[in-house]
Structure formats: structure tokens, C-alpha cells
Subunit: 422 residues, 2 copies
């Protein structure tokens, strides 16, 4: 059998096993699912030396290939990375079971009760790049929410992912959960991803984690719905009625908390009425933390050290210590700019004017809209979701940070005592 | 310009206009949207003669083409059909505005408030077959929920749909709502549908209403997510602990309320312990209302007049006065049959046994799962949604009957007073 047809067969088998596992997971107890997660944390602790030896094989291969240092660091299962993993597992285990909860029931005029029950999606495929911690983090959230998972990591982390997959399988033993609840794709054949996105019968949703090119490719190819993350071109609008010092702190935090996250501010919009006063101070604060400024014509003279912004700057997600700055004459102009350039991820207004705050929050069509907060709060933990599998830029199903609820759906449950229709 | 490129240009233009309209609708008042719906009801009333004259052109063409009588009847805008339409419009107008409502806010440890606000999806495409009432019903629900709509009806209803589209445009005048909030595709070129499903930039979701072949074709072609309805192979399971007379009434109602609706029972499963007693009575009741029975080997001798079921019968959605009947030895066997053959639409158990009811309701993976109710209750009005655009067999986003809520999404709204991260 050649590789192509063998990969096809392998993926089909994984799909069938996942679907069968999903049927059993659907009716599993939350206690069993949490017990498996705690067992996995224990196994990672006990098998640290072996895990790190397997991880070393990936690190050696990466060094040999000459991968850059940052990439190699992301591959490393350091003691600290494993501690974080174990902590995450115990935290997810402790969360309430999302499955089986009922919405408040409405009683219809004929006396029947109508409610909704939360249930797992079914089978979730995760396609991700180098970081092996995704194997455990994603498996934990999917298992907790009663879904079967097929994990396909990057070839750079092959040995690490295979070792983690082995521990996950072990953690399921003795819990009564199906052995194929979590499956790690055990081939480096690049065709596996192409096969995976055609398994419409066996996979209900795919969550890609990785660079834009991976996600764009999957969006084009996949016949299975994706919960995906594209751009995060986030805006902060400092209104004429902003409290100036608060606006400075928020702007600095929005850009520099971590400039590589998707919630980092990329464009700062400032109302003309306060620009002359506020922008020079902002320029000093940004210069002090090494942020390069690209300013519109009106902001340029107010921000020493800045250079002129081009049209491209408004559309760019830098993910770097660079910031575009534009002066606007009104809230309307700010809204229009955001409407045109935003990637509908996270936008924020700084203002003490209630009407401006309410209009901004109602009218901006992004997955998260803030008042008097930095955009970098876009994160499942910060929102109180307990953990997140990612941030979705989809409009349908899950939007914004996706926690356990985003990995579930609802069914209608109706209870009667012989009511008839018509 | 040839037809193909002219249709391409037309559809692109409709898409751009819809997107622009959606931006304005998003921030429109619920009162304005309801006023437009009431205005439309008045216009339909005032223009009845003209509407029916336009409709007559479609009826004449249909007669000329030799379309069958049932199809012609579905095309007809009779006085009664128009009354139902106007009533529906006023009813939707009276419903509470779904847009702008906020979920209960959680306060995070740092004091910021996290809530979700309900917002329109954006632009909705409706692709449907002959019934011109869909033009008004779908436009009403989409407009009420703040979405822009592009409606593409069947060529058999071309003149009727064009006339209704004209009244809809008129109804928007003077309300402050954008004139392109609702657009009826005004070409009979069949390529319009193919063009429509590629407009990913301008249409957020497509709702097909029609036969399975239309929906299968769209599911294969569309790059835009669908809210779609496939099969309704619905099961009723009469448990050993069923109250026999209640079970008879429920079974008859489930099959005969209307045998052509997607919630009609197609297979009846009966526990072996009560089969000998119950099935002969059921056979008499079904015979009296002209339902043909296709029975498994064990049910066959208990149901005079039935004929043997084949494997195909378990998988068939008859949408006709035909019923498959099977005797099962246990709840487990009923669950396994449903797992194998159900289309995940609506299933119901009749029982007085609480444990059996709870297990059935938890374990059956359908969009609606009932206890002691006929499956024919699968309908948005019955569920209290006020109106429905259809019943979705999707798992993600909208599942089961889709009302106004299914035409909306949520965004996160966070309010703080200068909290910073990290």
C-alpha cells in the first residue's frame, strides 16, 4: 500500500473510532471526564523524564534543520511548561461540567415544558503547529466538554505529541471512558490534514491553531465547519471626553501588555479636541517603551519621533511594537474608520461620556467591544470562561474567546403528559 | 454584455447594497423595523387586486407548462393566503425587538463587567422554491432581527415575488430604514443562485427553503454557511411503562396531524413487553385513518393488514401515510435503533418511568427530544418562538426550530474604568 492510500485509510479509521467514542462520551459522567484529566496531570508528573527525552528528539531535529531559536523555544517541554500544563489540567478538571445543564423551561399554554439541554458537539478536529502544549490543552477542553478529539500537530513536534498522546490514552484507562476519546494523528505525512478536512461524516468541527497561511488554506479546503481565528486589527478610540491619564494608561497597556497577541491595539484613534494636549504625552510614553509610531498628517507634528502612516498602516496587524495613530473629528469618524479597517476582533473607547460609550458599544460590529479598557483583555480567562481553546473571528456559533460553552451545542427538550397538536 | 456576466454584475451589486444596508439596519430602532412590517401589511391589503393580477400571470404560466395542481395551488396568492401573510406580519411586528438585549453581566475580580449583547447576523440570503409567501415571511423575520436580506425565489413565482418585492420596498419608505434592506432578485437566470453562494464578502449566511435536491446542491456548492434542513426521519418509542391509551393518542397524532411535515413520525418502536397488547389496538387505529403499516417480523402478526418492513423502511422519511413499526426488547435497543437510523431531527418516548424518560432525553442526540408528546410538535410557534424561518438540522449555530434568536448572534461587551492587564 502506498503512503497516500495508507494515510487515507488511517484517517478514515481515526474518524470512525472518534465517532464511536463520541457516542459513549455523550453519555459519560462529568466525574469520569475530570478524573481522566487529573490522571493525565499525574502521569505527566511521573513521566517527566521520559517526556523530556522524547521532546529532546524534536529539539535535536529542529536544531539540525536550523529552525530559528524562538521556534525551538516554543517546542521545548521545559519543567515550567509541564508545570503549566498540569496546572491547566487540574483547573479544567475542577470546572463545572458543562454537559446536561438545562436552560430555564418555559411552560406553553398547553402545559408542555420547553427547555434546552447543553450537549457536546461530537467530534472535534484540532490542527495546529509547533507548540506541543496544544496537544494537552485542547484535549483537556474537548474531553471536559464531552467531545471526542482528533489532534494533528506539526511535524516539528512529532515525538513530543506522540508521547503526550500515549499518556492521554493511559489516563483514560480505568475511567470507563472510550480509549479513542482523544487520538493523536501518528504520521508525518502532510496529506493527513487534507484527508482530515474531508471527513464530514466523522468530524463535526475543526479548530485550526496556527499561522494565517494554515488557516487560510483550511478555510479554502475544508468541507467541515471551522472555528477559526483570522486577523486581530484592534482599535482604541480616545474620545474628546476621555479622562486623559486613564486614556494614557489604557493605550500603553493595550499596545505593550504583549504586542504579539491578537488583542493588542494596532491603531489608536484620537478625537481632534484633545489631540493637541494628549498626543505629545502619549508620544513620550510610547517612546519610553520603544513603540514606533506611524501617524496621520494631523498627528505627525504632535508626536515627535513618529513617521507618516500610509494607507497600508490602517489595515495592518503589526503584532509588533508599532502603532498607527489617527486624529478624527468626531465619534462618527472613529466609527467609520473602524467599520472600514477593523477585523471585527476587539475595539475599545475611552470616554466619560455615557452617550458616546453606549453608541460605540452598540454600533461597533466586533466580537468584543469595550468601554474604558485596553483591547488586550481579549482572553477567555479574563472573561471568566475559565480556559479558552482560542478566540474565534467567526460570526456564527462561537464568537470571541471560546471556552467550554463554545465546544458545546444545545438540543431542545420538551416534556408533556399527552398533549396533542391541532 | 451577455447574460452570464450581467447576472454576475447584478448579484455583486445586490450584495454590495445589502452589506451597506446591513450597516444601517444594525443601528436602526426596533420601532422603525416594526413600523415597516405594519406598513407592508397595509400595502398588501390595499394592493390585493394588483398582487393577485401579478400572481395570475404566474398561475397562467404554470398552467401552460402543465405543472401539477398541487404545485399550482402552492403558487396561488388567494385571499386567505394574503390574510395569513398580513396576520403574520403584524404578529412579527408585535414581537419584542431581539436586538440590543444584554445577557446578565458577570463582574470580574478586577471590577470589569462582562456581558453579551444580541446583534444581527448581517446579510442573509434566502433561496427558495415556488411558494411566494416565503418572500414576505422570510423578509419579515430577517428585517425584524435587523438583517439585510437577498431573496431568490423560484422562477414559477417570478411575477408574484417581484410584486411583493415592490411592496416591501415601498413599505421601507419613510421609516428611515435603508431602501436595500430587503432585495428580491429580479432575474430568472438560473445562474443567479450559483453567483449568490460565492458572495462570501457580502452574505453571512444562506437559508435554503425547498426540496432536498436544492439543499444538497447548495450544501455542496456554497462557500457561505447554510442554515439548512435535511431529513426528518422521526421516531416515537413506546416504552414498556407507557400509559397505553396515551401512547395510542400520541402515536396517531404524531403520524396523522400532517403526514407531510418534517416532524411527522416515520418509525414507531414498541417495547416487547407491551407489544402483544398494544400493537393490535394501534393497528386498528391506524387502519381507521388510512395509514399503511410496514412491520418488523415480530410486529407483523400483531398488526393485521401490515406488510413486512425492509431495511430501507427504517431509513425512509415517507412524508406520507405510511409507518414503519418495530418491536424492541429494551430501551437500549430503541436507543441503538435511533442512533443508527435517526436524522437527528425529533424523537420522543412515551413512558411513565422517570428513569427511562431521563435516559432517553439525555442520550438521544437529536435537535429535539420529547417525553410523552407527539413528534409533530417540532415547530417554532409551538415552542414559543413566535415565528420560525424553518427548522435547522445543523448542529452548529441554530439547531431545531429557528426563530428570531437564530437570526442573531452575540458580541461581548466589557465595561471598565481603567482596569489594566498583567
Amino acid at each position: 500500500m502506498n503512503t497516500a492510500s495508507s494515510t487515507h485509510t488511517t484517517m478514515l479509521e481515526l474518524g470512525q473510532q472518534a465517532r464511536a467514542a463520541a457516542r459513549r462520551l455523550r453519555v459519560s459522567s462529568g466525574a469520569a471526564r475530570s478524573a481522566a484529566l487529573r490522571a493525565l496531570a499525574r502521569l505527566i508528573d511521573e513521566q517527566t523524564a521520559w517526556l523530556q527525552a522524547e521532546n529532546q528528539r524534536d529539539l535535536d531535529a529542529a536544531a539540525e534543520k536550523g529552525l530559528d531559536a524562538a521556534l525551538v523555544e516554543r517546542l521545548r517541554l521545559s519543567d515550567k511548561a509541564l508545570q503549566t500544563m498540569m496546572q491547566g489540567l487540574r483547573q479544567v478538571a475542577d470546572m463545572p461540567d458543562p454537559i446536561g445543564s438545562l436552560s430555564a423551561a418555559a411552560v406553553r399554554p398547553n402545559g408542555m415544558r420547553v427547555a434546552r439541554m447543553r450537549v457536546p458537539i461530537g467530534v472535534i478536529g484540532i490542527i495546529y503547529e509547533s507548540r506541543p502544549n496544544v496537544t494537552v490543552d485542547a484535549a483537556a477542553l474537548c474531553l471536559k466538554s464531552g467531545n471526542a478529539t482528533i489532534l494533528r500537530g506539526g511535524s516539528e513536534a512529532f515525538h513530543s505529541n506522540r508521547a503526550l498522546g500515549q499518556l492521554i490514552r493511559q489516563s483514560l484507562q480505568g475511567t470507563g471512558l472510550p480509549e479513542h476519546a482523544v487520538q493523536v494523528v501518528d504520521t508525518t505525512d502532510r496529506a493527513a490534514v487534507g484527508e482530515m478536512v474531508t471527513l464530514t461524516e466523522f468530524i463535526d468541527v475543526i479548530i485550526p491553531r496556527g499561522g494565517k497561511s494554515l488557516i487560510a488554506r483550511l478555510a479554502a479546503e475544508s468541507k467541515i465547519p471551522l472555528i477559526k481565528h483570522l486577523d486581530g486589527n484592534c482599535h482604541l478610540y480616545v474620545d474628546r471626553a476621555a479622562q486623559p491619564d486613564q486614556a494614557l494608561d489604557i493605550a500603553i497597556n493595550a499596545k505593550t501588555y504583549r504586542c504579539g497577541i491578537c488583542g493588542a491595539m494596532e491603531t489608536l484613534l484620537v478625537h481632534a479636541d484633545i489631540a493637541a494636549q494628549w498626543l505629545p504625552q502619549a508620544a513620550r510614553r510610547f517612546a519610553a517603551v520603544g513603540v514606533e509610531l506611524r501617524a496621520c498628517e494631523r498627528a505627525l507634528p504632535l508626536m515627535p519621533g513618529s513617521r507618516p502612516a500610509t494607507e497600508d498602516d490602517w489595515a495592518t496587524e503589526y503584532l509588533a511594537p508599532i502603532l498607527a495613530v489617527r486624529v478624527v473629528d468626531s465619534l462618527d469618524e472613529a466609527l467609520a474608520h473602524i467599520e472600514r479597517y477593523s477585523s471585527e476582533h476587539t475595539e475599545s473607547i475611552v470616554t466619560q461620556d455615557l452617550a458616546a460609550a453606549e453608541r460605540f458599544q452598540r454600533e461597533v460590529d466586533s466580537s468584543s467591544v469595550y468601554v474604558n479598557l485596553p483591547t488586550c483583555f481579549a482572553d477567555g480567562y479574563e472573561y471568566g470562561l475559565g480556559a479558552e481553546i482560542g478566540i474565534s473571528t467567526n460570526r456564527l456559533h462561537a464568537r470571541g474567546p471560546v471556552g467550554l460553552e463554545g465546544l458545546t451545542i444545545e438540543k431542545w427538550v420538551l416534556n408533556g403528559n399527552g398533549q396533542l397538536r391541532g
